[in-house]
Symmetry: C2
């Protein structure tokens, strides 16, 4: 048996999320189907975590045990020819049998894109939340800083969360504005990129943080309210769940010894 570790990019627009579910068309289903087509094995893959319906990923890690002897350098191309065009495997390597994509993940980064320009971008619209109303970006950055550290994130978790603990650690956050597609002389705000890196994330956590930050940006609440919302440990205190399409899993890091 070999334990193979891979990374996959996917445009999640047309999928019911990463993880297999009844009657769903998921990224996991497509990957397992491609592996079955290639090796004949009806195996299950393990990813670093699930992503919601409509959420995208750059380099989502996954691994699986296989008895196939196909050389490691052939796997990416062999799987990509068997996958739909919106799912692309970009890396493959062999790892120790003990390696586990979810349990071994040390840091995960998500990216959320808000297009603050007056008009949507027809090319990037599938992964940008279009918000043409002016946002107070410095206030959003100040609000975002409040989530850094170890906190109980109950206010920023789906009510359907079944986790016994809602304590998570956010290591760092970063916002930047790309103004390259702004029309000269316009009131276009640019595309706001928000990166959030943490030990792990609860269901809808990044999307609820973003929905709350958008409230801050619109002036519906203040940057420092984010601290009060966090302390409340009550989903009702936070803002709405921002639309899935703006979100992408951006990076997952493992410890040196694991891989």
């Amino acid at each position: 048996m070999r334990n193979l570790f891979m990374k996959v990019n996917y445009d999640g627009t047309h999928y019911d999320g990463f993880q297999t579910q009844p009657k769903g068309n998921t990224i996991q289903d497509q990957l397992e189907k491609a592996i079955h087509h290639l090796t004949g094995e009806g195996l299950k893959i393990t990813a670093s975590g699930r992503t919601d319906a409509g959420v995208h990923a750059y380099g989502q890690p996954f691994n699986f045990l296989t008895s196939s002897r196909i050389p490691i350098e052939r796997w990416c191309l062999a799987l990509n020819t068997r996958l739909p065009q919106d799912i692309v495997v970009t890396e493959a390597c062999e790892v120790p049998l003990s390696f586990h994509s979810r349990r071994g993940a040390k840091r995960k980064t998500y990216r959320y894109l808000i297009n603050g320009n007056r008009f949507p971008d027809p090319f990037q619209r599938r992964w940008q939340y279009h918000h043409p109303v002016a946002l107070n970006i410095p206030a959003m950055e100040q609000g975002l800083a409040h989530v850094i550290g170890t906190h109980d994130f109950t206010s920023f978790a789906s009510r359907r969360s079944t986790k016994t603990s809602h304590v998570r650690t956010i290591f760092e956050t970063h916002m930047e504005v790309d103004r390259s597609m702004c029309r000269p002389g316009s009131s276009d705000q640019g595309v706001i990129h928000t990166y959030i890196t943490g030990s792990g994330f609860l269901q809808h956590m990044v999307r609820i943080i973003m929905g709350t930050l958008i409230n801050v940006g619109e002036g519906k609440c203040q940057a420092d309210d984010v601290a009060h919302i966090l302390a409340a440990c009550d989903r009702a205190a936070a803002g709405p769940t921002a639309i899935a399409k703006g979100l992408a899993l951006w990076n997952v890091e493992y410890g040196e010894t694991e891989k």
Copy 2:
């Protein structure tokens, strides 16, 4: 009567090009339908030029005469709510009745994208030609320089061209490589952006120039062969017509007095 000038961005993936044609679903059809829905007028628009099926545009200019009194600042949003999501009007202004989008155009720039990374990008695949085999980019740049100037471009025009003269002027060209999506330590070449600015372009001209440059990049011919191909005035001398999806109309400039 008012003469309205607008700019439109479109993802051409699902369209039969810009210009109305029998049984076609074109960008022009969609724009005229949206205008008809808004004003009740069954008018014809004039663009700076046509684009082929599958070709995209950033800021394609067009104009039309209307008797509508809708204030100019309302037009973009009013049309966008009536257009499919892959077509977005971004600018609108009133121009002198004599202004003509095609006749007034002084300089047009096209962009062609080649993704030279090992694997396609699922997010950008609709507007990138994926060419994972190593390309000699300096040779391509050297070849590209030969098209600058005023030449008979018969070698780089579709055999179906009905123009009486194939003489056009290329003012400038530019290539740059975006390595931001390259995987560290990989043989990824990055995404090659090629910009070509000219007085006007013949049918398939940019795509045949690009197909020829790809031949140069693959070592099938030399950079200086581009000069001989140009001199031959024979479509058979040039390379293949590069795939439409890599091409986008990037910018159109008018004289100061026109607009």
